[in-house]
Chain length 335, copies 2
DNA sequence: TTGTACGCGTTATCAT
DNA sequence: ATGATAACGCGTACAA
């Protein structure tokens, strides 16, 4: 049988309450007793029963990551960062993928709260901006942190990068390479980051005194296929762009595949820039210019906020990083 | 307050035991009572307290996926398949990444069993073949299913594809394209699949009467960088291969990046074949020939075995698929 | 077919 | 600083 607190208390010659105190790092325990109990833990290889702790203590030592799924890499990096942080506090992270246009979204999240009895929740877009979700969290009084929220930044604790600034930096980089016609592939309309990145694109063009051309902006939805389709459309223009900025790495990969199929030597003929966690870009094309969105750090920091003993509403702005790889200016029209 | 069984029993006018019976789909309940209880569930929006069920019933309605991490895509696909299957039974999947050369591996798994009190476990390579892990499972009497085990296939329930056959099919494909010098990048030595895939490669060469050349085999460890390094080495040979078969998609991506950096027009000058879940290949290079290892299906099937009420030792062989895309024979020496 | 009473392992209350 | 005892919500012999 697995040892219980009772077994430990008998071995250490104290009451179960004292054992519980040691287990929970409470104060009022003499050093001598604490030592005896700790020793008993070790000799019995005691491991607390989580179900019992949860039932009696109204806490589960679990937090959840509710994550939508445009890019497996994004999810992976986010999960890793959060899990690493949780490990430090002996908390388990449970991953809860969700589908942003599922009509069971609210139900899924509520059943997560009840089912796992999680102590807190980390939300990624676009659920971060759904009023029903925010209402649910308020109603259930669950601690939560939002990653890259698009609205009401001050409403709750949240973590984000400067999407506008990052996109502008990327466009400035392309401009510095000599590009004047820069295509832009947007993200999914449900994501606030899509609009933010587009705003950065426009801001940088304005700075440079380049007129905004709506034809150069094509809709995408953060996946490979939409990136490829948007690229086809851009390259079919009468005056095609010499560079394309895709709003995330997955779509940049799609753009590259099209460029390649068409025999365009990238990046000589076409600069393609991605905006993501750099993981996919690493696989796809060493010469790709990328804004590194530090997904893992975002995850880590979100967990940090959530696990803080004094859980207060805070905003954390995580710095982004512009990664320039070898790439050249426009060589010829990319049509 | 959240409603409890007590509240439900009061509303339905029955005892808590009867409510419990309905909750657990037990037999001896009259249809009328069952209906009343079900109605009470609905009006109260009752959700069972998992901690209490676990504590009293000695089951957690959770299974774990212990997964090592050569390729994020593999992990992602595996998780998705298992989660889909679990949903059907109202079971939660908890993901437990592990590091195959961590010395805390056994401890991690045991704390998973104790901590989450999981009802079952799905193991992926290489822990599937670690004697200490198998001993632990036996000692703790935990249900488990192995994915792609390399040894003792009959020891436990397990799910796999025919790695030898798949690798041979791939090589036959490359041979049919006219290739005679085919490079091979192995997987990590800890994984049994590495040896199996190499065996398939050799078998196909034997069939074709082509002598095995050890120089054409380079070690890799299932990640992008090692695939790139191995490719550099292969292309530096006095007689370089005209085709390269990488033991998974991540390494194939690495191979492609090197070919590209060298200005080789793939696949005109060099055929590169991958062996994986096809996800990375889709991103990297549409013309890549790939063995589709149906990872999601593997996961789904593994969960199927684990969740079956009558849990018996079974082996399930999942079919693989050879995906041929447009690709040409060797055009010139790829050096 | 249905109900009663106890136990699961821990935390919390209120003593001492 | 420490201990006795009552919750926590549900499953399960056992009884009816």
């Amino acid at each position: 049988m697995r040892p219980t607190i009772n077994d430990v208390s008998r071995l250490a010659g104290v009451s179960i309450k004292t054992v519980s105190r040691v287990l929970n790092n409470e104060d009022r325990v003499s050093d001598a007793t604490r030592a005896r109990v700790t020793a008993a833990f070790a000799t019995l290889k005691y491991r607390p029963n989580m179900a019992a702790r949860t039932l009696a203590g109204h806490r589960s030592f679990q937090i959840a990551l509710a994550c939508d799924n445009p890019s497996p890499y994004y999810v992976y990096e986010m999960q890793s960062g959060i899990r690493d942080r949780c490990l430090l506090d002996g908390v388990r992270m449970v991953a809860q993928p969700y589908d942003h246009d599922s009509d069971r979204l609210i139900d899924d999240i509520e059943s997560l709260i009840d089912g796992s009895g999680v102590d807190g929740l980390i939300l990624t877009p676009p659920a971060t901006d759904y009023p029903e979700v925010l209402a649910l969290m308020a109603r259930r009084k669950v601690r939560f942190v939002r990653v890259s929220p698009g609205t009401d930044l001050d409403l709750t604790a949240s973590v984000f990068i400067d999407n506008v600034g990052a996109a502008a930096a990327m466009v400035r980089h392309l401009l510095a390479l000599g590009h004047r016609r820069i295509g832009f592939i947007t993200g999914h309309a449900s994501y606030a980051t899509s609009a933010q990145r587009l705003a950065g694109y426009r801001a940088a063009l304005d700075e440079a005194g380049i007129a905004f051309d709506p034809l150069l902006v094509r809709p995408g939805d953060y996946d490979f296929a939409s990136g490829a389709a948007a690229t086809e459309a851009l390259l079919a223009l009468r005056l095609p762009p010499t560079a394309i900025f895709a709003s995330n790495d997955d779509m940049a990969a799609g753009a590259l595949s099209v460029a390649h199929r068409r025999g365009l030597s990238v990046p000589a003929a076409l600069s393609i820039a991605g905006f993501g966690d750099d993981a996919i870009a690493r696989y796809v094309w060493p010469a790709l210019t990328t804004i590194r969105q530090p997904t893992r750090l975002l995850g880590y920091t979100a967990a940090d906020l959530l696990l803080a003993p004094e859980f207060v509403v805070k905003r954390i702005d995580v710095p982004f990083e512009l990664i320039r790889r070898e790439s050249t200016g426009p060589a010829r029209s990319a049509g």
